[in-house]
Structures are given as structure tokens and as C-alpha cells.
């Protein structure tokens, strides 16, 4: 019941945003449509809202909101930094690369946290994910210019602090 109520409130808020103005007829039509949408979506998406509805304390949820803002800020900062570097490569006269494929092992357990970490790796400068092995939890990463061969320095350069932040959100 709690899940259905949360889905209903979220879709009603989205409806009111899309409508642009609040009226009585808009509100009545919105409740009818969102009740149908919430009942249909509960049949398919049982797994999505499982993460949101774990019983947390109040203080823990505020800490989680702080880390969510940190992760979104890291997304936008990394996107701009890497775009500047790649566009510097674009306008060179003779662009020189040394591409290589490396493997990196993670310590995360949940599937959604692995997905968000892979989105972060796709935005950090010069890296791209090709594949993921779910048994050993290894990422196959294609990297433009490889500087060091050591595993610890390589892991620190890629997922040093983002892994801790994501681990504090989901685990």
C-alpha cells in the first residue's frame, strides 16, 4: 500500500508539472489518469522502488541526500573537465593516442550501484566501458592515454572517491 501511495504521489506531481497550471478539472483528470498508471506500473516495476522504501531513520536519510548531491555535482564537473580535454585532442594538428584495454575490479555488491558507477566511469576523462563480468565483478575499460601500469595507481585515478560515495548511498 505504501509503495502504491508513493507511486501515485510522484506521478501526480509529474502531471501537475506537465500541465503548467493548477485547476479543479486538471486535478480531477490527473487523479484518474495517475491511479490507472500507478496500478499498471506496480505490475511491472516492483524492483525499482524497493531501494527507495527501505526503512531508514531520519538522520540517515539526510546524510544520503547530502551524498546524492555530491554524486550529481561530480557528474557535471567530470563531464565538463573531460569535454575540455577531448576537445583539446580534436583541434590538434597531429592527434596522438596510445589506447589500451584494462581491467578493474570493484567492491560494490548491488546492481544499481554498479550501474551508477559505470555511468560515472563513462564520464571521467578518457575512459569508456566495453563490458562487465558479473562473476568476478570486473570492468573492461578502454582508455585513451595510459600513463601507469600499476593497479593501485590505476584504480585510484579512476574510481578513487566516487566508490566510497556510492557505497554510502546504497549500502
Amino acid at each position: 500500500m505504501k509503495k502504491k501511495l508513493l507511486t501515485f504521489i510522484l506521478t501526480l506531481a509529474l502531471w501537475l508539472v506537465f500541465a503548467g497550471h493548477i485547476n479543479f478539472s486538471v486535478f480531477l483528470l490527473g487523479t484518474l489518469v495517475t491511479i490507472i498508471c500507478s496500478i499498471i506500473s506496480r505490475m511491472f516495476a516492483a524492483e525499482v522502488f524497493r531501494l527507495l522504501l527501505m526503512n531508514y531513520e531520519v538522520k540517515v536519510s539526510f546524510v544520503k541526500i547530502y551524498y546524492i548531491f555530491l554524486v550529481v555535482g561530480a557528474f557535471i564537473y567530470d563531464a565538463f573537465l573531460s569535454a575540455v580535454r577531448v576537445s583539446k585532442h580534436v583541434f590538434e594538428i597531429n592527434p596522438s593516442f596510445s589506447p589500451k584495454t584494462v581491467q578493474i575490479k570493484t567492491s560494490l555488491q548491488n546492481l544499481p550501484s554498479i550501474m551508477i558507477l559505470s555511468n560515472l566511469i563513462a564520464l571521467t576523462p578518457g575512459t569508456l566501458i566495453m563490458d562487465f563480468n558479473i562473476l568476478n565483478k570486473n570492468y573492461f575499460i578502454h582508455w585513451i592515454d595510459v600513463r601507469s601500469e600499476d593497479e593501485a595507481a590505476l584504480k585510484k585515478a579512476l574510481i578513487g572517491k566516487h566508490e566510497k560515495w556510492i557505497a554510502k548511498i546504497f549500502e
Partner: protein, 111 residues
Amino acid sequence: MINSISILREIIAYVFLITGTYFLISNAIGMIRFPDFYLRLHASSKCLIAGSISVLMGCIVLEGISYISLKLIIIIIFLLITNPVAIHAIAHFAYNYSIKPQKIVKNDIKQ
């Protein structure tokens, strides 16, 4: 007083818009000049996301606080979630399609 604030807002908005257009043009040139498929995908992921976010943030600064800017923020969050997923899906498709990188050297890590 009010006039100077509106002029300052327009200057900031146009700086964002011109930066976004520069990133989109660099994406288009990088798609042509790079020799390998995965290098092209690098240019197509980073510059595309940064350019689109910059253009949308310029529109938000130009608009102010209203329902329209809320819709633009929804578009930004949607692009931030779905665009790296699409790039990852294309890279996995190419890896299954037997397109190898130029110099593939496996780094054997002792775990």
C-alpha cells in the same frame, strides 16, 4: 539597477550557450577526424553530454524560476541518466559485432 541585473543575466546565459555550441561543433569534427571506432565514441560521449547540459543551463538562466525551467531540469536529469547508458549499449554492441580496438593489450591483474 534592475536594468544592469538583466544585462548581467543575459551575458551569463549567452556565455553558456556559446560554450555549448563550441562543444557540439567539436563533437562533429571529432566524429570525422579520429581513426578508430572507440576513439570516435569517446568524442561522441563526453562532448555531447557537456554541450547539451551547457545549452540547457543557458536556457534556465535566461528563463528564471517558473514551470518551464522545471521542465528543463527534468530534461537535464533525463539526459544525465540515459545518455551514458546509450553509449555503453553501443560499445557493448560493437564488442559483440567483432570490432576490435587497435592495440588490445590485456592487463593481467593478480587477484
